[in-house]
């Protein structure tokens, strides 16, 4: 304490190399040191990126041009897999099913999460409530899927028992062509909505309170403040959340695998499940890779479009 207060901050330290200002020299030396340290810190993540992401992606793209059953060497077939993909009605059907799932899942999830986040911000400060909202997210997708499968079972499920006792007909939620995809989409909404709400809630916390106070002074209603203040200022966060959840939603697999296994009659044969079945069921790794590349292209395009439309990189906050 004494030393610090008795030493005035000196702009000219005496250490330094010849011909270079001592300060710049120190910074450079520090940068060199930091660079090495940074490289070491980045190494694990970089290695993970190279081994688990870049290399599999490149290899996947290569395999999409081959016929490959994993156990014998891949055989180059040019664009054959892509030609098959274009003419495969099941691929287009599974893409359609996936889009249907994403629209319901993201639509309901985003609106509900936004409502929950705004309620959490405007009505309560309770950490317990925030915790409760997040609870389903602590469960694994497979467990959530299985629990809902039992609840909604047409013959034995408690959900259907309740429906019947209330005088309604039983609904084959996961066993009917029309109901299966919306049901799976809503099961995943139930599991993810708390997490999405929490992300949006964090975004809401960043909006300065004085903006609301000023609006209140001007006599604005909660509804008006939501549309005129909350939504515009939350937009960048909402956009990022949307991009993340849409990508995640397109990759739905586990819930389908444990509840319907793609059925009935391919009604829930989402793209990831079709890819999995082609690869690990039918050993058509070349074709499965081509479908994965197609999914990558679709997701990239959707992300770019979303990013542009929502202007996710910019904020309206003065």
């Amino acid at each position: 304490m004494t030393v610090a207060s008795s030493s005035p901050p000196s702009p000219l330290p005496l250490r330094g190399a010849e011909g270079v200002t001592p300060r710049a020299g120190t910074r450079k030396a520090r940068e060199r040191g930091d660079g090495a340290l940074a490289a070491v810190f980045i190494a694990p993540a970089l290695l993970g990126f190279l081994v688990f992401l870049l290399w599999p992606t490149l290899r996947g793209i290569y395999l999409s041009f081959t016929r490959f059953n994993l156990l014998t060497p891949p055989e180059w077939v040019g664009l054959d897999n892509y030609d098959r993909l274009v003419h495969d009605p099941l691929f287009w059907d599974s893409l359609k099913v996936t889009v249907e799932y994403v629209v319901i899942n993201i639509g309901v999830q985003t609106v509900s999460a936004l409502a929950i986040a705004v309620l959490l911000q405007r009505l309560t400060q309770s950490a317990v409530l925030r915790g409760i909202v997040l609870t389903p997210y602590l469960m694994s997708n497979v467990v959530a899927g299985l629990v809902w499968l039992w609840i909604l079972d047409n013959q034995l499920g408690i959900g259907n028992e309740i429906l019947q006792s209330l005088g309604f007909d039983r609904i084959p939620f996961l066993a009917d062509e029309t109901w299966a995809i919306p049901t799976i989409a809503l099961i995943n909404v139930w599991r993810h909505v708390g997490y999405t709400a929490l992300l949006l809630f964090a975004g809401l916390q960043a909006i300065p309170n004085d903006v609301y106070e000023a609006a209140r002074v001007d006599g604005a209603s909660e509804w008006r403040m939501f549309w005129r203040i909350t939504m515009p200022l939350l937009r960048p966060v909402l956009a990022v959340v949307l991009i993340m959840t849409v990508i995640g939603s397109f990759q739905v697999f586990d819930t389908v695998a444990v509840t319907t296994a793609g059925g009935p009659a391919n009604a829930t044969n989402v793209l990831q499940y079709y890819i999995y079945g082609s690869a690990f069921g039918r050993f058509q790794f070349g074709y499965a890779s081509a479908m994965s590349v197609a999914l990558l292209v679709v997701l990239t395009a959707i992300t770019v479009i979303q990013y542009r439309i929502t202007r996710a990189g910019r904020t309206d906050l003065g």
Binding site: V40, L70, P264
Partner: protein, 447 residues
Amino acid sequence: MRLRTLTALAGALTLSLVTGCAAGEGTGASANTVTYWLWDANQLPAYQACAKGFEKENPGLKVKITQLGWSDYWTKLTAGFIAGTQPDVFTDHIQKFGQFADLKVLESLDDLGIKESAYQPGLAANWIGQDGHRYGTPKDWDTVALFYNQKMAKAAGLTAERLNSLSWNPEDGGTFEKAIAHLTVDKNGRRGDEPGFDRHNVKVYGLAGNGGGYGDGQTQWSMFTASAGWNYTDKARWGTKYQYDSKTFQSVITWYFGLAKKGYLAPLSDYNIQSNQANTQVASGKAAAAFDGAWMISTYHGFKGRDIRTALTPVGPTGRRATMMNGLADSITKGARNKEGARKWVAYLASDKCQRVVGTYGVVFPATPAGTKAATAAYEKQGIDVTAFTEPVADKKDFLTFSYPITNYAADVTALMTPRMEDIYGNGAPVSSLDQTNSQINRILSQ
């Protein structure tokens, strides 16, 4: 110093990532150990007992048995073939055999000197590949019969004798359909064959639903299609053409899934492979009867408060009863680490000595006649009558037994037939749609 410490820490983390990837071998393979996989938890104690006998006869050799559930089993086995972590020996299923033969992951077992006559008829021949080599040794067999709830049958006035003398045809369903209709009860207590029966509000289905049956219909429709004179393919083994476009097949399928429309067979929407298979429907009292395989005997007889009996499959238009007779086998993987030990273990598994031991546990019918006899005696001891399963094997005059279709591209056939049959069963799609699926399948087979 600080930097060096951090560098060392980060370096160690990176290294642990790299080595962590390679550390997960864990197959337990060694020169003295034979690794063996099976999927049926009920059979684990029987094979553990068998392994004990083997280890006694082969000092220094140990058998490490791993049991995995049916779905995990095949996923893990596939992953094992790819990663080189496959077991030395595994329980093989005929449905997967064609694919494994295509992938060339099985070791030839020609030198084990398996004699077909040493096993129940047809079991040994199924495991010979198209190249003429043997890839599996017969292990056990199963047939299909009708499990029924005795209390419900009694209430319907159906005796065991009556249920064992049923016949069917695709036109009016014969006495079999009449019995199933009579076992069906609606919400108001009316039976399926009584006037005013409400097929939309059924309390107890006469016959439980067990899904669309993929491409084989083992416990769904195969006993009907076979007793009507239909075969899956143009040849008994390694056929090159499927026959789902046959008018006979399609007429049987129309009649069978038509039972659901009449309210006698539980609809597809009541079935789920995870939560509500046929046995669950019988256990919960939602169905009075179900076709199921011999591997389910212990399960059905284990239902608390239910007296479950079994009856023969009905006589078909050919004048014979039919049931699929499926047999499992033991196969050695090409990448086995201990091939010598694996051969010894497989030879032991296929021997009368081991199969008799397995038989005494009363959980499965071993492939050798002596093993079968031991199993029948063990079931009898438990008070379980297994005649409905053993008679088709013993009486070849009145019974037709047939195998799973053995062809290449079995996984593709299943992938194409599963949604097709579900569409017919669940959505009422026309059976003529099978023509197109059949062409697709045959196109794949002709590649």
